[in-house]
């Protein structure tokens, strides 16, 4: 019954140190999602041409050439804006989802020892039940 020796240490950990650790891990994940979707960088460069692709008008005083370059560059900016906005929104959604998920996880964490005990006892009862032959 050595196994039971660990129980009091575990319970004390579960409701003290583990909680602060969990908060640390949640922070790590929020940082991770924020970085993975590069939200800060995408916001800062929202209107920058996609992958810095741009054309320059080559001929001087050629209106057509000037406008064609302007349109192309505007288009690259629009493409950049579109793709970036999409990923920013995706990232923010993921963040929101993670925050909701972690809040639920946190509540489950608080009752987890009881839930596990309940599951285990229920499992024993169900396993031992004589089937209706």
């Amino acid at each position: 019954m050595n196994f039971l020796l660990i129980a009091p240490h575990y319970i004390s950990w579960h409701y003290t140190k583990a909680i602060s650790d969990l908060i640390g891990i949640f922070k790590n994940f929020i940082w991770f999602i924020w970085n993975m979707f590069s939200i800060k960088i995408l916001l800062q460069t929202l209107f920058v041409p996609f992958q810095k692709l741009s054309v320059k008008s080559t001929k001087r005083f050629d209106i057509q050439d000037f406008f064609s370059a302007l349109v192309t560059n505007l288009l690259m900016r629009l493409v950049g804006f579109g793709i970036r906005s999409f990923f920013i929104i995706l990232g923010l959604f993921s963040l929101a989802f993670f925050i909701i998920f972690s809040s639920i996880f946190f509540i489950i964490w608080l009752i987890l020892p009881l839930v596990l005990l309940g599951m285990f006892v229920l499992g024993i009862i169900s396993t031992l039940k004589i089937p209706n032959l």
Binding site: N2, F3, L5, I6, H9, Y10, W13, H14, K17, A18, D21, I25, N28, F29, W31, F32, N35, M36, F37, S38, I41, L42, Q44, T45, V48, F50, Q51, K52, G80, I83, R84, F87, L112, L116, L117, M119, F120, L122, G123, I124, I125, S126, T127, L128, K129, P131, N132, L133
Partner: protein, 807 residues
């Protein structure tokens, strides 16, 4: 910190220790796997309703296994939580302290997992440990013991704990010493083991920030330009093997990374030139920077930057024409500037400059032009010697760089770096390295294969030793002796513990040399004692095996001594690289000797030493060489290597260097004439040589010994003649003939042949002219036949007559 104070701090991690004791880590891992298997089976059965009558029971089983699985997971979570929390000591130290139940510090340590493993790593068997524990007379109690702490960091590591045991338990320290384990080896071993253990556990911590940061992010590069060309001719620093070898050792580079960050964060001139004797050191710095950027723990100015290494060989190899290379290189640089988020790394700038110059491309000005753009950031790496020769002189280029000189890595630090390599080899082959074997690998690489980067050579040797030893599936323990055996096979130089035969040879070196050299007692004694010191490993491993300047007139045994040394130490008197230094007196002497990059010619000395770096290097008539050449030898004698004209290192550490010179002969004759004691007069002769400006005093001081050979007197000459006649008899053995060296003949040869100016060389010529010629004539005329013993009788007219008899 005293033991009881330490014991009080164990509570910080006590639950994890208790858990490990009740349910060991491996066991927990396996149980989790088995439970997972049952969960999967039960889940499938209940999902498909395979046993409808037992559905309820199977769901019950699913509940039990699932709840147990979570419980085991949570226990591991608790373990990691304590393991990774900020404690006062290593988890393993806490474990050892908690398990120290008896009042015997050493025994408790040796019984711990880490203690047992440490003994294996230093090559001491459990049987030996048990014998020590049963035979020792004293034990160290908890009251006597305390940990000698590091002033800078109060955290107590396993190595500190174990090293303190060595401090208090003198008997244990003596026991380790009998196996060649000193305090440094002991500490290094424990550092290695505990680092490996930490790495294994850290690998499981996927929720840590540095692990999460390895997942590539989306869209980070969209705001920056593309670097197609750099991708073609380069690779991200994370693909460099060094990048992985520093994982877990980031803290070692904290200061270095700070230095790099400080410069890179500048508004302009944010380029760095890292100068190091070992380019690997510089690459470690760059890798550490790359890692910190990946972890997101750098200054915001360099946040998210890409560290990219330009593969200079690849770009040069793909281009055939000057124009192609220039265009391609310019486009790489232009893209890097346009991208705006790349730190470009040039691994070996001098090498790049030199190889591009073969296509007549001036890399220096190409780089300088691009560097005028403040958006280009370069970290260039240069080897110290090559830097001085190629880069330093170009002010146009260097003004863009801030220089950082990286101090040379001591071989202890290299040992630490090759731990990782040893781990990789151990995971692939059934071999087990003792810590001493790693030290032997690094030491031997330093001494015998020093012409390239020490790190690369050490890794090569480590791999060679492993593949040599790995036979079949049985685990092979690689010891210092095995490493030395491989080195010995490769170099032909005896290694390691001096064997009986060699021991005898060394102890009787004087007698061995005297078998070939007549007289010269002082010279031979000095040479012998220097060579004995060298073989016992007392001399500096970074210098040549031995170096002597032989002063004295012609024909007194200087060359003969050189031959004898080659035979004794390299097994063959042909193992001599002879350089006639009178040929190196002109202005371009140095170029002739070590080559030049201008014409691409290799020098005589550098190519000879590349062919064979083991043997005796004989520098004949050293005084006649140019001053520049003598200066080169200042470095060779001091550091054991030189850099040739192409900027490559040439190793001279395995040579016995002997410079000979007739300088001072006049003073020697004078001493003889005045009947002064030549041994006492040695200093006078050396002073004379310096005064004449033939050698600079600092050059003379670099030699292990300046040996003065004195002219041979009559008795010595007679002995020389006897030796020469014996050598002639050896040659005549084939013909089944022999000469009897009568006293009369010997006296005759001395009288006819002795010439104080030419010493033994003159009598050698006399023997050739008179004796050998006489016998050859007689053989042709048929006057002597097979089996004859010849007596040469001096005649009154000064000729020799032949007398013979059959034995």
């Amino acid at each position: 910190m005293k033991f009881h104070q330490l014991a009080q701090k164990v509570f910080e991690v006590y639950p994890a220790i208790l858990l490990d004791k009740i349910i060991p880590r491996e066991f927990r891992k396996n149980v989790r796997k088995i439970l997972m298997f049952f969960i999967a089976v039960a889940f499938i059965i209940s999902l498909f309703g395979l046993f409808p009558d037992y559905t309820f029971n199977i769901r019950g089983l699913l509940f039990i296994t699932f709840s147990l699985w979570i419980a085991f997971y949570l226990l591991d979570a608790m373990f990691f939580s304590y393991y990774f929390s900020k404690n006062s000591m290593d988890f393993e130290v806490a474990k050892i302290i908690e398990n120290t139940k008896t009042d015997d510090i050493t025994k408790s340590f040796l019984n711990s997992d880490i203690g047992q493993f440490a003994m294996l790593r230093v090559g001491i068997s459990q049987k030996e440990v048990n014998r020590f524990l049963s035979e020792r007379k004293h034990t160290v109690s908890k009251d006597e013991y305390f940990v000698i702490e590091n002033d800078k960091d109060p955290f107590i590591t396993v190595a500190e704990y174990a090293r303190s045991i060595l401090h208090f338990d003198i008997e244990f320290a003596a026991f380790l010493r009998t196996f060649g384990v000193d305090g440094n080896i002991w500490k290094g071993t424990l550092d290695w083991i505990s680092q490996n253990q930490k790495t294994v556990i850290e690998r499981e911590a996927w929720w840590h920030r540095d692990r999460l940061s390895r997942v590539p992010s989306i869209g980070r590069d969209w705001a920056y330009g593309q670097i197609y060309n750099l991708e073609k001719y380069g690779y991200p620093i994370s693909n460099d093997s060094i990048f992985h070898s520093i994982s877990g050792k980031l803290s070692l580079f904290e200061e270095s990374v700070n230095n790099l960050e400080r410069i890179l964060a500048k508004q302009s001139g944010a380029n760095i030139l890292l100068i190091a004797n070992e380019t690997i050191l510089a690459m470690q710095w760059v890798s550490a920077l790359g890692k910190e950027i990946e972890n997101g723990t750098v200054r915001h100015e360099i946040e998210g930057k890409k560290v990219y290494v330009l593969d200079t060989d690849s770009i040069i190899d793909s281009m055939k024409q000057k124009v192609d290379l220039e265009t391609e290189l310019n486009s790489v640089l232009a893209q890097v500037i346009n991208a705006g988020n790349v730190i470009l790394v040039i691994k070996d700038l001098p090498h790049f400059i030199a190889s591009a110059s073969a296509l007549d491309v001036d890399v220096k000005s190409l780089l300088a032009n691009s560097l005028t753009s403040e958006r280009l950031q370069i970290i260039a790496v240069a080897n110290t010697h090559a830097y001085h020769e190629t880069v330093e002189t170009s002010h146009d280029l260097t003004r863009f760089f801030e220089k950082i000189i990286i101090p040379e890595l001591e071989h202890d630090a290299i040992v630490q770096v090759i731990h990782n390599e040893a781990n990789i080899i151990e995971s692939k082959m059934p071999v087990f390295f003792t810590y001493q074997s790693l030290i032997a690998v690094v030491k031997s690489s330093e001494r015998f294969f020093a012409d390239d980067s020490l790190y690369d050579k050490a890794v090569d040797l480590l791999n060679e030793v492993a593949s040599d030893s790995a036979v079949g599936r049985k685990m092979q323990i690689i010891t210092q002796e095995k490493v030395e055996k491989v080195v010995e096979n490769r170099t032909g130089i005896p290694q390691g513990k001096i064997g009986d035969a060699e021991q005898t040879k060394l102890n009787s070196l004087e007698q061995i040399l005297h078998q070939r050299i007549v007289g010269q007692d002082a010279a031979i004694n000095a040479i012998s004692s220097t060579m004995r010191r060298s073989r016992a490993g007392l001399t500096d491993s970074k210098r040549p095996t031995g170096s002597f300047l032989f002063l004295g007139p012609t024909g007194v045994g200087k060359t003969e001594t050189t031959k004898a040394l080659a035979e004794v130490f390299f097994g063959n008197e042909e193992k001599i690289i002879r350089v006639d230094m009178s040929e190196y007196s002109s202005e371009n002497a140095l170029e002739k000797l070590i080559g030049t990059a201008k014409t691409g010619e290799t020098g005589f000395l550098s190519s000879k030493l590349r062919e064979s770096q083991y043997g005796v290097l004989l520098l004949d008539e050293f005084e006649k060489s140019a001053k520049t050449v003598q200066d080169l030898f200042l470095q060779v004698l001091d550091e054991g290597f030189f850099t040739d004209g192409r900027g490559e290192r040439v190793n001279a550490r395995n040579l016995i260097i002997i410079a000979t010179s007739n300088a001072g002969s006049d003073s020697i004759y004078e001493s003889i004439r005045n009947k002064e004691d030549i041994i006492l007069d040695q200093q006078k002769i050396v002073d004379e040589v310096v005064k004449k400006g033939l050698f600079r005093p600092e050059l003379l001081n670099r030699f292990d010994g300046v040996i003065v050979f004195h002219p041979l007197d009559q008795t010595a000459l007679k002995n020389v003649i006897k030796l020469m006649l014996a050598a002639l008899n050896k040659r005549l053995e084939d013909k089944n003939l022999s000469i009897i060296a009568t006293e009369k003949l010997v006296d005759y040869l001395v009288n006819v042949g002795a010439d104080p100016q030419f010493g033994a060389r003159a009598v050698k010529r006399t023997i050739q002219d008179l004796v050998e010629k006489k016998i050859a004539d007689a053989m042709i005329k048929g006057e002597v036949a097979n089996g004859d013993k010849i007596i040469l009788e001096p005649q009154a007219d000064g000729t020799l007559s032949i007398d013979k008899f059959v034995a």
